[in-house]
Symmetry: C2
Protein backbone atom coordinates (compact mmCIF):
# COMPACT_ATOMS: atom_id res chain seq x y z
CA UNK A 1 0.00 0.00 0.00
CA UNK A 2 2.72 2.45 1.06
CA UNK A 3 4.48 2.98 -2.23
CA UNK A 4 1.33 3.29 -4.25
CA UNK A 5 -0.57 5.66 -2.00
CA UNK A 6 2.50 7.78 -1.44
CA UNK A 7 2.81 8.10 -5.20
CA UNK A 8 -0.87 8.72 -5.87
CA UNK A 9 -0.41 12.46 -6.29
CA UNK A 10 2.45 11.96 -8.70
CA UNK A 11 0.65 9.28 -10.67
CA UNK A 12 -2.21 11.66 -11.34
CA UNK A 13 0.17 14.01 -13.07
CA UNK A 14 2.35 11.26 -14.57
CA UNK A 15 2.26 11.21 -18.36
CA UNK A 16 3.64 7.70 -18.30
CA UNK A 17 0.51 6.40 -16.59
CA UNK A 18 -1.55 8.00 -19.33
CA UNK A 19 0.73 6.42 -21.96
CA UNK A 20 0.27 3.03 -20.30
CA UNK A 21 -3.50 3.21 -20.02
CA UNK A 22 -3.55 4.16 -23.70
CA UNK A 23 -2.21 0.65 -24.35
CA UNK A 24 -5.68 -0.59 -23.43
CA UNK A 25 -7.48 2.04 -25.48
CA UNK A 26 -7.84 -0.25 -28.48
CA UNK A 27 -10.12 -3.11 -27.58
CA UNK A 28 -8.30 -5.82 -29.49
CA UNK A 29 -4.74 -5.10 -28.44
CA UNK A 30 -4.93 -6.73 -24.99
CA UNK A 31 -6.78 -9.69 -26.48
CA UNK A 32 -3.97 -10.24 -28.99
CA UNK A 33 -1.33 -9.96 -26.26
CA UNK A 34 -3.10 -12.62 -24.21
CA UNK A 35 -3.46 -14.73 -27.36
CA UNK A 36 0.32 -14.71 -27.81
CA UNK A 37 0.96 -15.76 -24.22
CA UNK A 38 1.12 -19.40 -25.27
CA UNK A 39 3.92 -18.76 -27.78
CA UNK A 40 4.61 -17.47 -31.31
CA UNK A 41 1.74 -17.65 -33.76
CA UNK A 42 1.25 -17.22 -37.47
CA UNK A 43 -1.16 -14.45 -38.37
CA UNK A 44 -3.93 -16.75 -39.59
CA UNK A 45 -3.73 -18.99 -36.51
CA UNK A 46 -3.95 -15.95 -34.26
CA UNK A 47 -6.97 -14.66 -36.12
CA UNK A 48 -8.78 -17.99 -35.87
CA UNK A 49 -8.03 -18.34 -32.16
CA UNK A 50 -9.26 -14.87 -31.31
CA UNK A 51 -12.47 -15.05 -33.27
CA UNK A 52 -14.57 -12.09 -34.32
CA UNK A 53 -11.67 -9.88 -35.39
CA UNK A 54 -11.58 -8.60 -38.97
CA UNK A 55 -8.47 -8.89 -41.10
CA UNK A 56 -8.14 -5.10 -41.13
CA UNK A 57 -8.48 -4.79 -37.34
CA UNK A 58 -5.86 -7.50 -36.81
CA UNK A 59 -3.43 -5.74 -39.17
CA UNK A 60 -3.91 -2.41 -37.39
CA UNK A 61 -3.56 -3.96 -33.94
CA UNK A 62 -0.36 -5.84 -34.82
CA UNK A 63 1.12 -2.67 -36.30
CA UNK A 64 0.37 -0.77 -33.06
CA UNK A 65 1.80 -3.54 -30.89
CA UNK A 66 4.97 -3.74 -33.03
CA UNK A 67 5.28 0.04 -32.81
CA UNK A 68 5.03 -0.04 -29.02
CA UNK A 69 7.69 -2.75 -28.82
CA UNK A 70 5.27 -5.21 -27.24
CA UNK A 71 5.25 -7.70 -30.11
CA UNK A 72 7.97 -8.81 -32.54
CA UNK A 73 7.73 -10.24 -36.01
CA UNK A 74 9.95 -13.13 -37.13
CA UNK A 75 10.44 -14.07 -40.76
CA UNK A 76 11.77 -17.54 -41.53
CA UNK A 77 13.59 -18.00 -44.86
CA UNK A 78 11.74 -20.93 -46.33
CA UNK A 79 9.40 -21.40 -49.28
CA UNK A 80 6.83 -20.07 -48.86
CA UNK A 81 8.28 -17.66 -46.25
CA UNK A 82 6.91 -18.24 -42.78
CA UNK A 83 6.14 -15.22 -40.58
CA UNK A 84 5.27 -15.45 -36.90
CA UNK A 85 4.38 -12.96 -34.19
CA UNK A 86 5.57 -13.28 -30.62
CA UNK A 87 5.65 -11.26 -27.41
CA UNK A 88 8.80 -9.26 -26.67
CA UNK A 89 10.13 -9.26 -23.11
CA UNK A 90 8.35 -5.94 -22.61
CA UNK A 91 5.09 -7.33 -23.96
CA UNK A 92 5.35 -10.41 -21.78
CA UNK A 93 5.90 -8.26 -18.69
CA UNK A 94 2.75 -6.29 -19.52
CA UNK A 95 0.68 -9.45 -19.93
CA UNK A 96 2.03 -11.19 -16.85
CA UNK A 97 1.71 -8.08 -14.66
CA UNK A 98 -1.10 -5.57 -15.28
CA UNK A 99 -3.08 -7.62 -17.75
CA UNK A 100 -3.06 -10.67 -15.50
CA UNK A 101 -4.25 -8.45 -12.64
CA UNK A 102 -7.05 -7.18 -14.86
CA UNK A 103 -8.03 -10.75 -15.76
CA UNK A 104 -8.12 -11.70 -12.07
CA UNK A 105 -10.27 -8.64 -11.33
CA UNK A 106 -12.66 -9.57 -14.13
CA UNK A 107 -12.96 -13.08 -12.69
CA UNK A 108 -13.92 -11.59 -9.33
CA UNK A 109 -15.93 -8.50 -10.33
CA UNK A 110 -16.89 -8.82 -14.00
CA UNK A 111 -20.53 -9.54 -13.19
CA UNK A 112 -20.82 -6.47 -10.95
CA UNK A 113 -19.36 -4.37 -13.74
CA UNK A 114 -21.89 -5.62 -16.27
CA UNK A 115 -24.79 -5.18 -13.82
CA UNK A 116 -23.89 -1.54 -13.18
CA UNK A 117 -24.41 -0.56 -16.80
CA UNK A 118 -25.93 2.56 -18.27
CA UNK A 119 -25.58 6.22 -17.47
CA UNK A 120 -26.74 7.74 -14.18
CA UNK A 121 -30.25 9.14 -14.02
CA UNK A 122 -30.60 12.58 -15.49
CA UNK A 123 -32.04 13.96 -12.26
CA UNK A 124 -28.71 13.15 -10.67
CA UNK A 125 -27.39 16.04 -12.73
Amino acid sequence: MSGYEAHAGELVADCRLRAATDLFAHTWDPVILVGLLGGARRRGVLRTEIGGISDKALTEALRRLLGHGLVERRRYAQAPPRVEYDLTALGRSLVEGPLRALGDWVDAHGDELLEASGAPDDDEW
Copy 2:
Protein backbone atom coordinates in the same frame (compact mmCIF):
# COMPACT_ATOMS: atom_id res chain seq x y z
CA MET B 1 0.89 -18.89 -13.40
CA SER B 2 -1.39 -21.92 -13.49
CA GLY B 3 -4.78 -20.27 -13.31
CA TYR B 4 -3.97 -17.54 -15.75
CA GLU B 5 -2.32 -19.66 -18.44
CA ALA B 6 -4.97 -22.32 -18.11
CA HIS B 7 -7.55 -19.63 -18.75
CA ALA B 8 -5.69 -17.90 -21.57
CA GLY B 9 -7.82 -19.52 -24.25
CA GLU B 10 -11.00 -18.54 -22.47
CA LEU B 11 -9.84 -15.00 -21.80
CA VAL B 12 -9.27 -14.45 -25.48
CA ALA B 13 -12.91 -15.12 -26.12
CA ASP B 14 -14.15 -13.55 -22.88
CA CYS B 15 -16.33 -10.52 -23.48
CA ARG B 16 -15.82 -9.50 -19.87
CA LEU B 17 -12.10 -8.95 -20.50
CA ARG B 18 -13.02 -6.69 -23.39
CA ALA B 19 -15.49 -4.84 -21.16
CA ALA B 20 -12.78 -4.39 -18.55
CA THR B 21 -10.10 -3.15 -20.94
CA ASP B 22 -12.67 -0.66 -22.23
CA LEU B 23 -12.54 0.90 -18.76
CA PHE B 24 -9.10 2.20 -19.74
CA ALA B 25 -10.20 3.33 -23.19
CA HIS B 26 -10.79 6.89 -22.01
CA THR B 27 -7.52 8.45 -21.00
CA TRP B 28 -8.82 10.45 -18.05
CA ASP B 29 -10.91 7.80 -16.33
CA PRO B 30 -8.03 5.93 -14.66
CA VAL B 31 -6.45 9.23 -13.67
CA ILE B 32 -9.67 10.26 -11.90
CA LEU B 33 -9.94 6.90 -10.15
CA VAL B 34 -6.40 7.27 -8.81
CA GLY B 35 -7.20 10.84 -7.82
CA LEU B 36 -10.07 9.61 -5.64
CA LEU B 37 -7.91 7.01 -3.90
CA GLY B 38 -7.17 9.44 -1.09
CA GLY B 39 -10.86 9.96 -0.29
CA ALA B 40 -13.99 11.82 -1.40
CA ARG B 41 -13.45 15.03 -3.33
CA ARG B 42 -15.55 17.93 -4.51
CA ARG B 43 -15.55 18.38 -8.25
CA GLY B 44 -13.47 21.56 -8.26
CA VAL B 45 -10.83 20.09 -5.95
CA LEU B 46 -10.57 17.02 -8.14
CA ARG B 47 -10.14 19.14 -11.23
CA THR B 48 -7.39 21.23 -9.64
CA GLU B 49 -5.52 18.17 -8.38
CA ILE B 50 -5.59 16.42 -11.75
CA GLY B 51 -4.49 19.39 -13.81
CA GLY B 52 -4.88 19.71 -17.54
CA ILE B 53 -8.42 18.31 -17.70
CA SER B 54 -11.16 20.51 -19.16
CA ASP B 55 -14.46 21.01 -17.40
CA LYS B 56 -16.26 19.15 -20.20
CA ALA B 57 -13.86 16.20 -20.10
CA LEU B 58 -14.24 15.93 -16.32
CA THR B 59 -18.03 15.95 -16.59
CA GLU B 60 -18.01 13.22 -19.22
CA ALA B 61 -15.51 11.10 -17.33
CA LEU B 62 -17.47 11.33 -14.05
CA ARG B 63 -20.66 10.40 -15.89
CA ARG B 64 -19.00 7.29 -17.35
CA LEU B 65 -17.51 6.28 -14.01
CA LEU B 66 -20.88 6.72 -12.26
CA GLY B 67 -22.51 4.68 -15.03
CA HIS B 68 -20.02 1.85 -14.55
CA GLY B 69 -20.62 1.82 -10.80
CA LEU B 70 -16.99 2.72 -10.09
CA VAL B 71 -17.70 6.13 -8.56
CA GLU B 72 -20.58 7.41 -6.42
CA ARG B 73 -21.94 10.90 -5.93
CA ARG B 74 -22.96 12.16 -2.49
CA ARG B 75 -25.10 15.22 -1.98
CA TYR B 76 -25.06 16.87 1.44
CA ALA B 77 -28.12 18.95 2.40
CA GLN B 78 -26.57 22.23 3.39
CA ALA B 79 -26.54 25.72 1.95
CA PRO B 80 -25.07 25.85 -0.57
CA PRO B 81 -25.46 22.10 -1.23
CA ARG B 82 -22.19 20.22 -1.10
CA VAL B 83 -21.57 17.43 -3.60
CA GLU B 84 -18.67 15.00 -3.41
CA TYR B 85 -17.43 12.12 -5.51
CA ASP B 86 -15.94 8.97 -4.05
CA LEU B 87 -14.87 5.50 -5.13
CA THR B 88 -17.40 2.70 -4.72
CA ALA B 89 -16.15 -0.65 -3.38
CA LEU B 90 -16.01 -1.83 -7.00
CA GLY B 91 -14.02 1.22 -8.06
CA ARG B 92 -11.61 0.83 -5.17
CA SER B 93 -11.01 -2.82 -6.07
CA LEU B 94 -10.16 -1.76 -9.63
CA VAL B 95 -7.70 0.88 -8.45
CA GLU B 96 -6.05 -1.30 -5.83
CA GLY B 97 -5.79 -4.32 -8.15
CA PRO B 98 -5.27 -3.84 -11.90
CA LEU B 99 -4.56 -0.11 -11.84
CA ARG B 100 -1.96 -0.47 -9.11
CA ALA B 101 -0.35 -3.28 -11.14
CA LEU B 102 -0.29 -0.96 -14.15
CA GLY B 103 1.31 1.79 -12.07
CA ASP B 104 3.99 -0.63 -10.85
CA TRP B 105 4.63 -1.73 -14.43
CA VAL B 106 4.98 1.88 -15.55
CA ASP B 107 7.51 2.50 -12.78
CA ALA B 108 9.56 -0.44 -14.03
CA HIS B 109 9.06 -0.25 -17.80
CA GLY B 110 7.65 3.18 -18.68
CA ASP B 111 10.92 4.37 -20.19
CA GLU B 112 11.20 1.30 -22.44
CA LEU B 113 7.66 1.94 -23.61
CA LEU B 114 8.37 5.56 -24.52
CA GLU B 115 11.65 4.61 -26.27
CA ALA B 116 9.90 2.06 -28.47
CA SER B 117 7.69 4.67 -30.09
CA GLY B 118 6.57 5.01 -33.67
CA ALA B 119 5.29 2.54 -36.22
CA PRO B 120 7.43 -0.29 -37.58
CA ASP B 121 9.40 0.38 -40.76
CA ASP B 122 7.38 0.09 -43.91
CA ASP B 123 9.72 -2.50 -45.36
CA GLU B 124 8.70 -4.74 -42.49
CA TRP B 125 5.37 -4.94 -44.24
